[in-house]
């Protein structure tokens, strides 16, 4: 009997403690760690970028940001969780535009990212680069596409992720040029780069950080850079816009988002912290050595980009899948 009594009172105490931690005022936000969902796996470029900024941002936020990796179903598992989360500013998602805007165009999803998520901050973007083994007979993007056109199915494109950052730019360029290529999926940028180096595939689309070392040795040839400006490490490589392919919706923007109902003043606090982050030397140095740019964008500005993306991706999918 005694045991039961003590146990019961203990449970009551636990319950009482839990109930006192009720709703919080915006003024003291954040007063506990913020969870940052990454809908992708460990070790990817999102994970690395997040490890960098979450190790510096506590200085400006006063609270740590805790990374919660939720990979699965090409980013859908994590996105669904973010949409379901309480809109109190303590759950954010670190995602990218292809999960945010392109995926809803090709798949039936149980959520609507446009309606249910709002942008907080665009961290930076990754420029998709077209590269392949330098022993191939074609020397430029135009020559390569020409070869592909003359030999249907012979041009082999190593892609990463269905409708992802590596596949979409390639598919867009190939479709526009009317090339029928063979697509080989790879599980991530690493394996795709390896396939390119081994000559298994003719070209792949990846971020410069991985490919550049091999460009310097002459093993890889860069056909194009998916950015407005040329890379300073590879000034001879033309950009996609120079070659006549608009690049706006092909960049991979790494964005931090929150559930739509999150109080605006809390989002403001987050944005202020990010703004200060972009003056922090440690952060800038780390991003620089990661080989990432720091082309940020404020939440409201990025919201406008999202609207454009939605339309562009809709057209794109229509064109490619013929629906």
């Amino acid at each position: 009997m005694k045991t039961k009594h003590i146990l019961f009172s203990l449970l009551v105490v636990l319950l009482a403690v839990s109930l006192t931690g009720g709703p919080v005022m915006a003024a003291d936000y954040p007063e506990k760690p913020i969870t940052l969902i990454i809908p992708l796996g460990a070790g990817g470029s999102h994970d690395l970028n997040a490890r960098v900024f979450t190790s510096v941002i506590p200085t400006y936020l006063g609270q740590p940001m805790v990374i919660k990796l939720m990979p699965g179903a090409g980013g859908q598992t994590g996105t669904a969780a973010a949409v379901r989360a309480k809109a109190d500013g303590y759950t954010l998602i670190f995602t990218h535009n292809f999960i945010d805007q392109l995926q809803p165009q090709v798949e039936k999803l149980p959520y609507d990212t446009t309606k249910e998520l709002i942008s907080v901050w665009r961290l930076n973007y990754g420029p998709p680069c077209f590269y392949g083994l330098a022993d191939r007979p074609y020397k430029t993007l135009a020559e390569m596409l020409d070869y592909g056109k003359k030999n249907p199915g012979k041009l082999i494109f190593g892609t990463t992720g269905q409708w992802g950052a590596g596949m979409t730019p390639g598919a867009v360029v190939l479709t526009r040029a009317g090339v029928e290529a063979t697509y080989i999926p790879y599980q991530g940028g690493g394996p795709a780069l390896q396939a390119a180096l081994a000559g298994d595939v003719d070209f792949t689309v990846g971020f410069p950080a991985q490919g550049l070392p091999h460009y310097k040795t002459g093993k890889l040839r860069f056909y194009a850079v998916g950015a407005e400006k040329r890379l300073k490490e590879a000034p001879d490589v033309p950009t996609l816009p120079e070659l006549g392919y608009p690049v706006g919706s092909l960049l991979m923007s790494r964005i931090i988002m929150a559930p739509r109902e999150t109080p605006p003043e809390r989002i403001k606090i987050l944005q202020d912290a990010f703004r200060k982050l972009y003056q922090d030397k440690t952060f800038l140095n780390l991003m620089n050595s990661l080989g990432e740019n720091v082309e940020f964008m404020d939440g409201p500005d990025y919201e406008k980009v999202r609207v454009e993306q939605k339309e562009e991706y809709a057209n794109l999918v229509k064109k490619i899948t013929g629906k």
Binding site: G41, A42, G43, G44, D47, L48, R51, V52, T54, S55, I67, K68, L69, M70, P71, G72, A73, G74, Q76, T77, G78, A80, A81, P110, G153, I156, Q162, T182, Y183, I184, P185, Y186, Q187, G188, G190, P191, L193, Q194, A195, L197, A198, D200, A209, Q210, L212, P213, H214, K216, T217, K219, L286, S289, L290, G291
Partner: protein, 511 residues
Amino acid sequence: MWESFLHGVMLSFGWKIFAMMSLGLLLGMLVGALPGFTTVMAMAILLPISFFLHPLIGIPFLIGVYKGGIYGGSIPAILISIPGTGASVATTFDGPALTKKGQGRKAMEMALYASVFGDFSSDILTLLLIGPIALIALRVGPPELTAIVLLSLIIISATGSGSLVKGLIMGTVGLLLSMIGQDPLGFMQRFTFNIFAIKAGIPLLPMLIGVFAIPEILMAVEKETASYISEKVDLSKVGERLRFSEFRRCFRTILRSTGIGSVLGACPGVGQVVAAFVGYAAAVNASDHPETFGKGELEGVAAAEAANNAVNGPTLVPLLTLGIPGDNITAILLGAFIAQGLRPGPQLFSEQGPLIFAIIMAMIFANVLFLIIGYAAIPVFSRIITIRKSVLLPLITIFAFAGSYVYRSDPFDLIVLVVFGGFGYACRKLHFDVSPMVMAFILGPILEYSFGQTVNLARGDMLHYLFVARPVSGVLFTIVPILSGWFWWKTLRKRREKSRDSIVVKGGENS
């Protein structure tokens, strides 16, 4: 080259390096020992620390986490049948049975020695053969991977304990389970019944913890005893140490597994889990007493642990020489390298030769620290299971649940845990071995993925592509039927002999 090597050796001697590496090993072991925390997660969590350290301290620190993590996973695998990381799944085939016999400490020591030996030899091998390994890594594409995984699957399928047909059935069930969710190549839904939660497939860790740990808990409550381990065991003997003769008995197995692990480690995309399975299967096949495996055989623990740690050295080669991360672990290491301003790749050796050799040397030294730290930690862990059942079982349950949850914070995973727990319990009671199911579940998607890639690469002309366009895959695909035929023939012959023996001795009590 020689000069930068010597310079590197000089650089790698420094108390700070050793101190941080020891810290990394210890942290890796502890985090790896927590169920649900994979080595990848341990490294991802500790990565930011390395950003703010000198490369020669930060990178050995992470390598320590890596090595410690792969070993740490074996601790809960042996003690409470929860594989701490995927790499220690094969350790759960024999470890928990040893613990129940009161030989938990022996098993952990065997795991430690086998791990350190496998790791150490593979590191030396990596240092000596870094060039050739880099070449192999580039030659292993989808068709070669298909051949390797196919061979692994066939070898593994021959080694289940108990009835052969039941083992094969469980393997097929594992394959089917792995196909639930989006298909790996085109992301089409399969057997999801339009339920969003299983679109991403059945999560691996909750399933593993479910089929291995929950049945142990349920079996332990069947009898009203106070202790978790068998009643017959003298509790004072739980701390019994590994004898040298026992280590020597397993030495051949450790050598074999180290070889298997090193070769598989050089092939990108294979990884520790597969190496441990194949090492285990090969040990069963080579043994004179295969029937003792799965029932608490020290050799089984040695086989799995030597193989999974032997992968560690060679997997770093594609990263160091080509800048290609073969898996998530090396992807995190790549992040650490580049955050330090070191860009792994072809120029790394010419530009940063001494530093790289220093890092490899540090890896080799890490094994010595690994041995010491592991040795010191084992007695602490081995006492755990002497806690009485009424306290230990709830604790195991908490860890099983927390471990299933942290991987992706989805409450659905807890349902998976419980369902597979019940399933695993029923399998135990009805003499179905769950290990072939788990192995097929892990290998199935790799096989399907690489095969699908191969079909695309061949563009309709498989024979020409496999045997003419790619000589390496041609050789492999010729070897696969021969090797697997030999393997099966040997297994079947042994089984027949055994069953004849048992009929004579026991009057046919076993199948």
